[in-house]
Symmetry: C2
Subunit: 205 residues, 2 copies
DNA sequence: GATTCTTTCTAACAACCGTTTGGTAGAGTA
DNA sequence: TACTCTACCAAACGGTTGTTAGAAAGAATC
C-alpha cells in the first residue's frame, strides 16, 4: 500500500464522514419541516454552510433523500433478515421483529419519519422504485408471519389478517413521529409495552 | 323577505356549494400529493379550471387548507361531544369514540390524511393555532378516559397510559392513509375489528 | 335587447426554487 | 515559496411558485 494510496483513502474517508454529517442534518430538517417544504438553503443553514455548497457533496436534493432512505432501509432489512434467519416460532419472531423495528426508530428516527411522510409521493419516480419493492417485501413478510401464527395457534383466528398487518405496521412506525431518543422511555421499553398491548390487549380480564 | 333578498341568498348558496366542491377536489389532491408539493395549478387542473381562477373563490392556498382542516375538526368534535355527553362507562365510551373516528375517516378521508401529514408543519403559523388546541384537547380527553378506565377496572393497570394513548390515536387515524370508501371493508367493520384487537389483543388465549 | 352579475380566462408579477459557474481561503505537499 | 487539492463562498441562472389585474364569456335581470 503506497503512501499516495493511503492519502487517497484518508481523504475519501474524511469525505464520506462529512457526507454522513450533512445527511444527518438534512434528514433532521426534512423530517421536521417536510421534504417538499424544505429548501436546500434551509438544510445548508442548519449545517452552517451556504445552499450552493451542498452541491459539492451531493448531485441534487433528491439524491440526499435517496441516500437517507436507502441507508435506513438497508439497515432495517439487515436486522430483519437476522431475525428471520433465526427461524423462531411465530410469536417470538413477531416479538423480535417489533423490537428490531423500535431499534431502527431509535437509530434512524429522522429517516423513518421521512419514510412515513414522503415515501408515497417519492415512490412515483423510478429512482425510488426500491421504496415500492421494500414495501412489497415488508407486507409479504408480515402477512406470511401472521398466517403462520394463526396456523400454529399462536394468534387469534377470528381477526382479519390484512387489517392486523396494517395495524401493526402503522403503530410501530408512526412511533417515530413522537419518540425522543433519551426520553422517558427507551426504545426497548416502548417495544415491550407495545408488545404487551398488541398481544394481550388493553382490556382487563 | 324581498325578491332581491331571496336572490342574494340563492347566489350565496350556489357560491358556497361551488366552494365546497372545489375544496373537496383540493383536499383530494393535497392528500395524495402532499400539501407543500401540490401547486395551485394542479388543484385547478383537477377542478377543470385555471390556476388563477381559484382566487375568485379563495384568498390563498393556505386558506383552502385552513377551511378543509377546520371543517373536518369541527365535525369530529361535534361527534366526540355527542359521545361524551352520553356519559357511558369507560369501555363503551372508548368503543363509541373509535367508531366515530372511523366514521370521520369515512366522511373526511382526504382531510384526515392532510391532518396527519401536514398539521405538524402548518401548526407553527398563528393561523393554525386551532390545530394545536385540538391536539391538546384530544390528548386530554383520551388520557382522562384511559385513567378512568383503569380506575373502574375496565382497562389493564400495568400499561403505560401515555403509551396506550399514542397507540390508539395513531392506529386509528393512520387508517385514513389506506382506507378506501366502498372497499372490501366498511368503516364500521374496520372499527369493530380494530376494537377487538385493541381490547383483546391478537394473541390466542 | 340592453345591462348587470357571476365566473372564468389571459397574461403577467415578484419572489423563490434547485442548481450551476467561477472564484477563493486554507491546509497539505514538494 | 510555489503548487495542488479540498471545501466552501458569491453571485447568478432559468424555471416555477403563489398571486394579481383586467378582459371576456355567459347567464340572469330588467
Amino acid at each position: 500500500m503506497s503512501p499516495r494510496r493511503r492519502d487517497a483513502e484518508g481523504t475519501a474517508a474524511a469525505r464520506a464522514e462529512r457526507r454522513a454529517e450533512l445527511l444527518a442534518t438534512a434528514a433532521e430538517v426534512f423530517a421536521t419541516r417536510g421534504y417538499a417544504a424544505t429548501t436546500v438553503r434551509e438544510v445548508a443553514d442548519a449545517a452552517g454552510i451556504l445552499g450552493g455548497s451542498l452541491y459539492y457533496h451531493f448531485d441534487s436534493k433528491e439524491s440526499m433523500a435517496d441516500e437517507i432512505l436507502s441507508t435506513f432501509l438497508n439497515e432495517m432489512w439487515a436486522a430483519y433478515d437476522r431475525v428471520l434467519a433465526a427461524d423462531l416460532g411465530a410469536r417470538d419472531t413477531l416479538t423480535a421483529l417489533v423490537a428490531e423495528s423500535f431499534g431502527c426508530i431509535d437509530r434512524h428516527r429522522p429517516a423513518v419519519v421521512m419514510y412515513q411522510n414522503e415515501s408515497r409521493h417519492l415512490a412515483t419516480g423510478p429512482r425510488f422504485a426500491y421504496l415500492t419493492e421494500s414495501r412489497r417485501r415488508f407486507e409479504e413478510m408480515w402477512m406470511t408471519l401472521l398466517e403462520r401464527g394463526v396456523r400454529e395457534g399462536a394468534f387469534r383466528a377470528d381477526l382479519d389478517i390484512a387489517l392486523v398487518y396494517r395495524f401493526i405496521r402503522d403503530t410501530v412506525w408512526v412511533a417515530a413521529t413522537w419518540y425522543q431518543p433519551g426520553g422517558r422511555l427507551t426504545a426497548a421499553q416502548i417495544a415491550e409495552q407495545y408488545l404487551a398491548m398488541v398481544l394481550g390487549g388493553i382490556q382487563h380480564e
